[in-house]
Amino acid sequence: MRKIITVFFWFVAAVTVSSITQWSWERALMWPGIANAQEDWKNEFEHVCSKTQDAMALSADQLRNLVARCDKLKPQIEKLDETQRKVYLKRLQLCRDLLFFVLESKEKK
């Protein structure tokens, strides 16, 4: 009985999530897992791209590390739904390009 109630609530939650976020059924049913994964990539994105303002003050090694983290993030963002993919790939590109640009300028000095 408890199992049935759990499944029922899971189903209701999936319907709600699906209607709010316009996700597919399969995606909405895996919602809790996705939510965690989403937090992970977003935290990493925010952490890496918060450094653009003071990129000039970072060392070449720090910049290389941040560029590598951007490259690692890209495949994760590519798995997101269409809108998020479009927005965050563009934002990641801007961030990665700047970090790489500063790294290049430091290496050429």
Partner: protein, 266 residues
């Protein structure tokens, strides 16, 4: 021989008149039209008029960086390919136009709706307004009446308007922007003009970074790593490259020479 000469002369005169007419046809946009962007990736296909985006209104309230970096709008019209579903989900226009975010103590209207009834259709017209006789909520002349005047473009000196506290562009949007360290102040520098007698350019890195951040210009617009190694020609700039990305469309136009070529000639 004389005949051939006359015919060639007439031909040149004819070409001159035709090209002069073509030049005259390119009318300069009116102050409220300067920076206007028409967005029509999906509008007409969905039975709506194309969107008319007023840069002047948005730049008075938000920094360029907020929209073109944090929200992710491309720098070229139509490239972002914004969909109604993107706005409904709170991205692009929907980042602010969500019926919840406020500006000037007023809720910003919702951008797109899943259901379009007669009431929503009127709402759609606030943005999907090309060719429609819509009275805008924010009248250009009324809003900018007290702003310091500029010579070209919107006819407003936006930089001065900010310095005088008449505009305070927002640079952070909760839930969208990333919390960052404040940007260290960049030094202004001079760029040598190519023509003798032409004043050198004083490039205000500070002013540009305050509104644009770093990643909006580097490396996409300015890829040169070392100062002085990249050469920028005015013809390329007039074609919309380098400074021309913004200074042909939104920021004060290139015909306002003295705004950049400002270093006194020795």
């Amino acid at each position: 021989m004389k005949r051939i000469f006359c015919v060639v002369l007439l031909l040149f005169m004819f070409i001159g008149v035709v090209s002069a007419q073509n030049i005259a046809k390119k009318k300069r946009p009116l102050p409220y039209e300067y920076g206007e962007v028409i967005i029509n990736n999906y509008s007409e296909k969905a039975g709506l008029a194309p969107v008319v985006f007023d840069h002047w209104l948005h730049r008075a309230k938000y920094t360029c960086r907020l929209c073109h970096v944090d929200i992710g709008f491309a720098m070229k019209a139509g490239v972002t390919a914004i969909k109604a579903s993107d706005n409904i989900r709170g991205y692009y226009c929907g980042a602010c136009h969500n019926g919840k975010t406020a500006a000037d103590n007023k809720r910003i209207f919702d951008s797109c709706s899943q259901t379009i009834g007669p009431e929503e259709k009127t709402m759609c017209l606030r943005c999907h307004s090309l060719g429609k006789n819509i009275t805008p909520e924010h009248d250009f002349n009324r809003v900018t009446a007290n702003f310091p005047k500029g010579r070209f473009g919107n006819g407003i000196d936006w930089e001065k308007a900010e310095a005088e506290g008449l505009i305070k562009p927002i640079d952070f949007l909760e839930g969208i922007s990333i919390k960052r360290q404040p940007l260290s102040i960049q030094k202004d520098f001079a760029l040598e003009a190519k023509i003798e007698g032409m004043p050198d350019i004083i490039f205000s890195h500070k002013k540009h970074t305050v509104w644009n951040g770093c990643e909006l210009c580097h490396p996409e617009i300015f890829a040169g790593v070392k100062k002085g190694t990249a050469k920028y020609s005015m013809s390329e700039i007039f074609e919309g490259k380098y400074c021309g990305v913004c200074h042909t469309s939104v920021a004060f136009p290139l015909i306002d020479c003295q705004r950049c070529h400002s270093k006194p000639v020795q």
